[in-house]
Every structure is written in structure tokens, then in C-alpha cells.
Symmetry: C2
Subunit: 390 residues, 2 copies
């Protein structure tokens, strides 16, 4: 049952007992007619300045499942499905001032779209642990959907049974998106090197960190594919940085504010590369929601600023580091040959324990590459579309 | 002349008459000794939690060009070059509360690192226009430095004389960085197509916009290489979005605040791709400085929120769009075959006028690709290092 009401500047509809009120300019900008949306695409043809200034509504005509609106000053007509209007209606019918909420609920990258976890929530021996078999992932869309959804919701998935052949990590990346090539190449080998330019290429322990904070844009997905495990040690740890950030905000809002409000400078230098980026350790959306963490003391440069600002930063930074290091946060895994970890590098910190190098053994060898979340999310959406229509 | 003073928590130095005061924890975190920085790299070995809690200074010994500091509780010693201390000192010696300024001056991506412009500032027939000859760019490091600096400082450079052969745009990208592959491929053809999935592939005019706002991370560099010009029309326009944002902030701070504070949803859908990103039209650093613009009504989805929030957004959005469309902002170019435009897609909007399709003529044909600013900045830094040492 639809009732239409009308003022000069908006449209009021009652759909299933809800009173919905739509601004005229919003309706006009979302007109789905072929003069407004390019046929065969989802693209609007008109820019906001192509719309007459002072758009108003002069007439609204109701049909069973649609409403046709006529706009002043140019008599343009737009027909909207009732279901579309109900689904996209402004959140209040009253027009009460609630302007802080525009755009609030659509950010798939922010904490509200995620399931936050502690290590115990995802213990590897339980069904809650996000794992998938590579052959099933390749052959069964439902399995691939579960795996890719885990990356978006939990921040990672472990694919098992990926052939432990060099270069296969690129096939894994191609299964959901596009490789982000960097100065490290399309893929990189992580093993002990005689003259390492990076701590990754030693047998040292590396505490939880995100990769490449000195890059902007940072690679949003990282893959680590195990070709050979270490004899002893070399275990992988994962920490949910969004869960930790939420905990810091709850327990120490001042330190959270300092981490979110202070740009830190990260750098990487070798013979062929000089990278530097300046971003806060906790990145917030315009609505103040967590949408990224960067954590890597290795590559953090000397903080600039005032004496008081630097002192306040270090106090907060230590609190943040201690919270991230709480034992209950780190999920520990032992990657076996054929395991490939795919994780959200804007959210999940990764670590490894030190490992031994036995004389004569070929030693631990992983291959890694970077990719991006937008391509992964697109692949997931297309797979879901296929499952829905099949 | 160096004088050292000392409290339990900091070091005070007088260098050339300036009183400099350094927090103990900052000094300890920046210790350059081989136990703290991995030899052969710029990487710190220790995490912030590896440092003892309550770091203090027990002794400072001065030499001609260095200072050696001894820390409590573990008696670790760090030697700093006097010149390094002078260059990296906290901005105030007084310890006055100035905490808002930590990290403020290091963000190369924000407006303060840019030279903002109006069209008249960079007229194509003048020497102020950032152009470079491809052969000189390839052969002369100084020319390549000038060209890449123009992309970082002004937001674009026009390379002329790039062979008008398909695929060459990838060589241009490889000359400074790495291609960002997307659903459009490593490169894409921009020409009129019979069933276009994107307005780019028609002969329509396209108003100033940034590309791919529905991608996150957005590609930060775009290349457009002209293989064939249109018979008539098809001119390219460029607008400095950072200059426009600064003008909006000055003339209408409330609208600026709405553009920076409202996440908008951008989308792109075709048979193989579903992309969506949620970001504000003007992106600010934690310090409130402009560091990105997104502007593309074509791909903006229905804004969600309250009635009042949506209405306020549209009023501000129109002001922003009108300001971007001011005639003095748009620099107009006619790309000739062999011209390749390289621009910062987080800052510079691009546009084209409509063009004619003459019967029998092959028509306008550009090839484009995406890349990223971090790789470009790295290439520039390495070239500068080479010029300094030669």
C-alpha cells in the first residue's frame, strides 16, 4: 500500500506503514531513465551541475509497484520502483537533524563490516578456523565464496594443498584478483639470504607487523605460500588489528586518539628503491571508524614534531604495542608445504618465530606476493551472483 | 659548539645557539648502533616493546661531532652525529605543549607538498607548462627528474614524441614504476565501441572527474597515450583538485567539511566485475590537510543517510561541483598522436570534450593504464641520488 505526499522540495511515501521522505535533489540524481543512466551500464550520464539548480517536485503519480515523479523546473519525469525506494529511503521520515549519519553504513572496509576475533575464537583444530582445500576452492564456487568471505570478514583464509611449486602463489592471486607488482617483484622469495636487505630474509623472529607501511597505497592483500617448512621454529602468528584497535579505544581512548591522529613516517631504502609514506598507525574513516592499521617499528622513521607531541606519541605507541602483543590475540599456525595464507594487510598483523638452519638442509622457503581487496571483493560478488542465479 | 644538559627523561643540547631537547625514549628508538639497526639496511631490529619500560638517560658524553648517550635501566649506549640531531630535533626546545604538531611536516602526498595551480599558471605555450620530450626523458636523468617532479608537485606531465604504437603506454609506466592491473587489463583502449560498458568508450563529452573512485585503493597514477586524435573535438581538460579544495575551504568551510566528512559510495558493475568503495569526496590527513579528491558523479551510488544529512550533502556537493567547474580552473590541451599524459589521479581531474566520428575515418584512439605514486617517487629519489653523486 503506497500513499504519496508532496511538498515543493521532497516526496513523502507511506510504504507498509513506514513514512518515508525523499529529498527532490536526491531523487533527481538517482533517476534511472535512459537519459540519466547510460543504457547497458550502471553509469549516470549527468553530472551534478547538469541538474537544474533548485530542483523541486511538481507532481507524483502512484502505480501499484512504482511512483512517477515530475520535477521542476524542466518537467523531467522519473519512475522509481517502490521496492527500490523502500530499500534506499533516508533513515528517518521525520526530517529530524541527523546529518552526521549520511553515508554511514556502506563502508565494507571499516570495522563494522568485520567479525573481530581473539586467537581462541578461531583455533586451528576447530571448524571456526577459516581454511579451504585448494582443489575444492578451484572446483566449487560455494567453497571459494566461503574462502573469500573469510578474508573480508575475518581478515584471512588458509588454503591447503596448493602445489608447493615455485610461482604457484601467483596462481592463487589470479584466482581472485590482480597481483600488485612492487620493487620486490611480482612475487618474492622469503628465505635466509647471505646479505639480507630485509629482516624477512634472515632466520630471526619477527614480531607481529603489517607489510609495506612505507608504501602508499599500501598493498591491501598479502599471500604467503609455504614451499618448505623450517626444521624447527618458523611458526606463523596472526593478530586481528581491528579487534585490538577496538580494545585500545575502549581501554585507553586518549592513546587511541593519538595513534589515529598522528601521521608517522615509514621508510624503506635499498640500492634501487627509496620509499616513504606518512600515515597514522590507526586509520579512521571520516566517521571515526577503524579502517586500517599500520604497525612496523622496523621501518618507522624518526618521528618529527614537538617535544611534548613526541613524548605523548611514544607513551601511546607503547600502550598500543603492548595491547597488540597480548598473548590471547595471536593465533599461531605452522605452515606446511602447500599451505597458502591469504590475508588483509590493512587489518591482520603477521609474525613468525625464529627458526633453525640445520647444516645441509635446504631451509625454510616461502613465496609471497601482494594483491588488493577490491579485486577480491569483486570476484566474490560475481561468484555470489552466479550461485544466486543457478 | 655543543653543550649537553641532562635530566632523567631527556637530553638537552645547545647546537649553534639553539637549545634542543630530545625525549629519552625517542633517542633510544632511533639508536643507530648495529644491535638496533640491521647492518646493510635501514631497518630497526627492535620493536617498541623490546625497549625497557621507563627508558631514561644516565649519562651523555660529548665529542666534536657526536654525542654518546647511556640509557637506564640497561646501560645501552647510543652515539648520534651532531648533524643528525640538529636535523631531527623536536621543533621546540621548551617542552611547551604543542602536541598537535607531531608528524606534521612529512606527508609528501598532502596539499602542503604541492604547488597548486589555475589554468593560467601553466598555459601550454609557456615554459611553465610541464612537458618533456620522450627521447630526452629516456636519455637524460635531469630531464626525467624534471618530468617526475612535475607529477608530484603539479600533478601531471605531458610527454611528447612517445611512439604512437599500441602498447607503448606500458613502456612509459615501466619507466617510473609498476602497472596497476585491474579488471580493465594492464592497459585499456579508449575509443568508440559499439556497445560501450563505460561512457569513456563513446564520443560523448565527459566532465572533469577522477578515475575509478569505486576502487580501494584507487590507482594513484593514470597514463593516457594518444595514438590517433579525433577529427574535431576530443580535447583534454585538467583541473587541480587540491587547488579547488583549498578554494572551497576558504570560501565555504561548511561545504568543505561536508565533502570531507561524508563517505560516499561509488560503484561499477559489468558482467565480470562488481566494484564498490566508500570514501569521502575530499580526503583529509589526520591533520586535516587535503590528501585526495574523488569526483565522479557517473559512478556515485544512491547516498544513504538521514533526510537532513542527504539534503546537506547535496547542497555542499553542488557548491563543490560548481567550484571545480569554474572556467579558470580547467587547463585545455589537445593531445596529438605520440602525446602521453601522466597524472596524479588522487588530485588532478581530467575531462574531454565531445568529438565527431567522420564516416570512414578510424577515429580517436587513446590507450591508458594505471600505476602508483609510490613507485614514481622512488624512481625520482633514485635518479636524484645518482645526479647528486655524479
Amino acid at each position: 500500500m503506497v500513499e504519496t505526499g508532496l511538498t515543493h522540495s521532497d516526496l513523502e511515501l507511506t510504504i507498509d506503514g513506514r513514512v518515508l521522505r525523499f529529498p527532490a535533489v536526491w531523487l533527481r540524481d538517482n533517476c534511472p531513465c535512459p537519459d540519466c543512466v547510460a543504457p547497458g551500464t550502471t553509469q549516470k550520464i549527468n553530472d551534478i551541475t547538469d541538474m537544474p539548480n533548485g530542483v523541486a517536485i511538481t507532481h507524483a503519480a502512484r502505480a501499484d509497484d512504482s511512483v512517477t515523479v515530475t520535477f521542476a523546473p524542466d518537467q523531467h519525469q522519473a519512475t522509481f520502483a517502490r521496492s527500490w525506494l523502500a530499500a534506499h529511503a533516508p533513515r528517518d521520515g521525520s526530517g529530524a537533524d541527523n546529518s552526521k549519519t549520511a553515508g554511514v553504513d556502506a563502508d565494507d572496509r571499516a570495522e563494522d563490516a568485520k567479525a573481530l576475533w581473539l586467537a581462541a575464537d578461531l583455533a586451528p583444530e576447530t571448524s571456526r578456523f577459516p581454511g579451504a582445500d585448494w582443489q575444492r576452492y578451484l572446483g566449487e564456487p560455494a567453497e571459494r565464496i566461503r574462502a573469500l568471505e573469510a578474508v573480508l570478514r575475518l581478515g584471512f583464509v588458509l588454503l591447503r594443498g596448493v602445489p608447493a611449486e615455485p610461482g604457484t602463489v601467483l596462481e592463487v592471486a589470479a584466482s581472485f584478483g590482480f597481483v600488485r607488482e612492487t620493487n620486490y617483484g611480482r612475487l618474492f622469495d622469503i628465505r635466509v639470504e647471505p646479505a639480507p636487505g630485509n629482516l624477512a630474509y634472515t632466520s630471526r623472529a619477527i614480531r607481529p607487523h603489517t607489510d609495506n607501511p612505507y608504501r602508499d597505497p599500501v598493498p591491501t592483500v598479502q599471500l604467503l605460500h609455504c614451499l618448505r617448512a623450517a626444521g624447527q621454529g618458523g611458526e606463523t602468528g596472526l593478530v586481528d588489528g581491528f579487534a585490538a584497535a577496538a580494545a585500545l579505544r575502549a581501554s585507553d581512548p586518549a592513546s587511541f586518539g593519538t595513534m589515529a591522529g598522528t601521521p608517522a613516517s615509514f621508510g624503506y631504502v635499498d640500492k634501487e628503491t627509496v620509499l616513504r609514506a606518512c600515515q597514522p598507525l590507526i586509520e579512521l574513516s571520516p566517521r571515526g571508524r577503524v579502517r586500517g592499521v599500520r604497525f612496523n617499528n622496523r621501518s618507522m622513521g624518526p618521528l618529527r614534531g614537538s617535544y611534548a607531541g613526541i613524548s605523548a606519541f611514544y607513551a601511546a605507541y607503547r600502550r598500543w604495542a603492548e595491547l597488540l602483543a597480548e598473548p590471547g590475540r595471536q593465533l599461531n599456525l605452522r605452515l606446511a608445504p602447500g599451505d597458502c595464507l591469504v590475508f588483509d594487510n590493512t587489518r591482520v598483523l603477521h609474525a613468525r618465530t625464529a627458526f633453525s638452519m640445520s647444516a645441509g638442509s635446504p631451509g625454510r622457503h616461502l613465496q609471497g606476493c601482494y594483491a588488493d581487496l577490491d579485486g577480491l571483493a569483486s570476484t566474490l560478488a560475481i561468484l555470489k551472483r552466479g550461485e544466486e542465479s543457478s
